[in-house]
Symmetry: none
Subunit: 233 residues, 4 copies
DNA sequence: TATGAATGAGATTTCATTCAT
DNA sequence: CATGAATGAAATCTCATTCAT
């Protein structure tokens, strides 16, 4: 269940997002070679898994496929993950963290006028689309694979989307406070709508034949719609 | 792969949508009682299936569950559908048709000014949200179940979304032609962005505790964003 | 946990034993052909399983082996039994029921003097040894297989042995009441010791090259020991 | 297969038992510290294994559990034992030796009358029950674990029981020769029956809440039955 | 036409054993 | 010597699909 709504403006988004994104991404003490080895092996497995999941979907991907993708015996995987679902969860959390980071890396209070905010939105959009291009499987996992696992996992994605929407809401609050955004906005739903648009773009960039160009166009489209509306002036 | 793009403005959307929605395989021979009987049995099965799919997801729904949900033996289902996937496809197509109908029922050339178009958009949004409320399983199927079957089915949903975006694009062309919408719009992506927003709203209405109120708020939010933008004036 | 001890003399043993032996042996209404069919199929499976279990032991027996032993697909077995353990439980309960029946078929209050009781004990012993000879797998299941499943199953066997010991105790009480047995006997432990002897004999009959002769000799040995002791007179 | 039968009376039991007990594979080179070290490590492993086997049973006990029980890496175990089965065999042989020693420590020709033999039997019974109390895992291994390994191991236990029965038979022969026991006894089966009783007692002592008291009672019960029979006099 | 008994492909998971470090 | 990472054989169990009744 997604419970958190309407974030307090001005709060640190980055910290909260880390928590929301999941708990798996342990980055343990940088000296323990044993733990480090384990972690790097988990990453290897996750790298193999994300490819196989993206290609076949969660249910049709077999542990054996993941193992052979990384050139290991399938029993090996069970030394590093409890079961198949745990792999998917790890992969998803890693992906969501990367995705949400793009948004949360921008400070919500930085903009002081519409133009600055517009530039910021473009930066965020472009960052997202760049990520889609750099790691195409990431989009698959977030948009498709997670939904194939179970409802808990679907809710995890929904939670991440909500978290992004909450951060976006902070931007809106910032703009309203500084008088360059419309104070009558229903901030959370507007934020969610914006996120919906942006992720619709991300999905289309992910699927496009020429994702680079598609990303550029979507950046422009979204900012245009947000700041100018569609009406002729 | 999504192939259809940039619909010719002014064409009849409703007709083309039927084709795009998929191979609905309705055998509408309105006199042959045998065929009619078969069709009504298929509907029964689809009614049972949509409930079971919505509740358990495609993979975890068993043929036996669907059969017992409709009070029949599970062997019976195979007299009306080739296999499990065919049921899902039938259910999905039926759902997509209902969904897209909401949009295509509105004539794309009816509006003559921004206010009329705004009213039209609100009507469409409200119609969509009403549908979500009236048939919650429909939202589950379109948003979640289809993605669990295979990539072909995912593309079918994507195709329907594209079709809706194309119709939306016709509205935009109409508005530009009649000088009340901004001629610089990237019409297809703007249309897709609008559809993305609206469906993000639909998803949240579908999940909301009080879907009625959520639908109202989302209607308002989307039209506000489209016609006014977010900037203070 | 075996809790019941020191049975009240004169009570009906047969009834209580049925309960102790387990709950699986459903013999449903003799007209319902569906239920009868199911039951006869379960018997078929149990017949196949007892052979395979006796030959390979519980852990090394595979469902596939049981299935092929009865000439069926291995999936079929799961239509009639929840899982492998359930088969073993069914088989064991069936076997324990047969075994305990031999003892409980004799009325505990029938004997009126030492000679009559001695004859009764010989009858019981011989009945038991006959059973071992007629169904050798039965001995395997009770003496060996059950112990390979888990502690709960071991306790089920122990419970049946205790039940037999309780019935035996009733015989002793009867003899003491009628003044032909030694009143100073520790009745339950003496009964358990007798049962221990008899089952040691059963095990050896089960393993003997010539079980018929071995059974005869054991009958004589046990009664001799019980009634005459070992001391020269 | 149980082959050894009807031991020659008067022979030294202790020596033969060593052979019967199995291939204990002790390398008794009492000076080579390397071999001694190896042997003490094997003992350590056996000590750990007997606990784990007693707790979980043979099949559900893992090498890893045994290793961690003794605080070693699981690879280490393979430096001292060929495989899992070899551990069980070692543990069993060690246990059987302790068990049979209780019986074979008593000289079979010591008694000269019924009263002396009765005292001797009580000593043996009490010794056995004391052992059960002192090392409860020993009972588990002999009564339960061995039967879970394979038929060969089961036969090893059976062989040890036979060996004990053979020694017991020597006592009987001694008593018959000295005229204080009934010459008409079927000596081997009577011996086996006595052993069966005694071990039934041992099993119950092993399982009892108050093993000390249970042991006392069983000693009395067994000797009473052997020497007095059950008939009132 | 309706049914459900039978089937077996196929996937996950465990853990004894090996062997390089 | 000791270790534990890697391995893969093997077994259970599920359920879509077939087909005789």
């Amino acid at each position: 269940m997604v419970t958190a709504h309407h974030a307090t403006p001005g709060a640190s988004a980055a910290i909260r997002l880390d928590a929301l994104t999941g708990s798996t991404a342990k980055k343990p003490a940088r000296r323990l070679s044993a733990a480090e080895l384990t972690e790097s092996r988990r990453e290897e497995i996750a790298d193999a898994a994300i490819k196989v999941f993206a290609l076949h979907g969660y249910r049709d991907a077999s542990i054996a496929q993941i193992a052979s993708q990384m050139g290991a015996g399938h029993g090996t995987i069970y030394r590093y993950f409890e079961n198949k679902r745990a792999i998917a969860e790890y992969v998803l959390n890693r992906s969501l963290l990367k995705l949400t980071s793009v948004v949360t890396d921008e400070p919500p209070e930085a903009s002081n006028n519409a133009a600055e905010y517009r530039a910021q939105v473009e930066r965020i959009g472009r960052g997202l689309y760049d990520l889609m291009i750099a790691e195409p499987e990431l989009g698959s996992v977030v948009f498709f694979v997670a939904g194939q696992v179970d409802s808990e996992m679907r809710e995890q994605v929904q939670g991440a989307f909500d978290a992004v929407a909450q951060v976006t809401e902070m931007y809106l609050h910032n703009g309203i406070k500084k008088d360059f955004l419309d104070p009558s906005l229903d901030t959370f739903r507007t934020a969610a709508a914006i996120v919906g648009m942006i992720f619709e773009g991300a999905r289309r960039v992910h699927l496009a034949d020429n994702p680079r160009a598609e990303g550029e166009s979507w950046s422009a489209t979204v900012t245009h719609l947000m700041f100018d509306g569609i009406v002729a002036r």
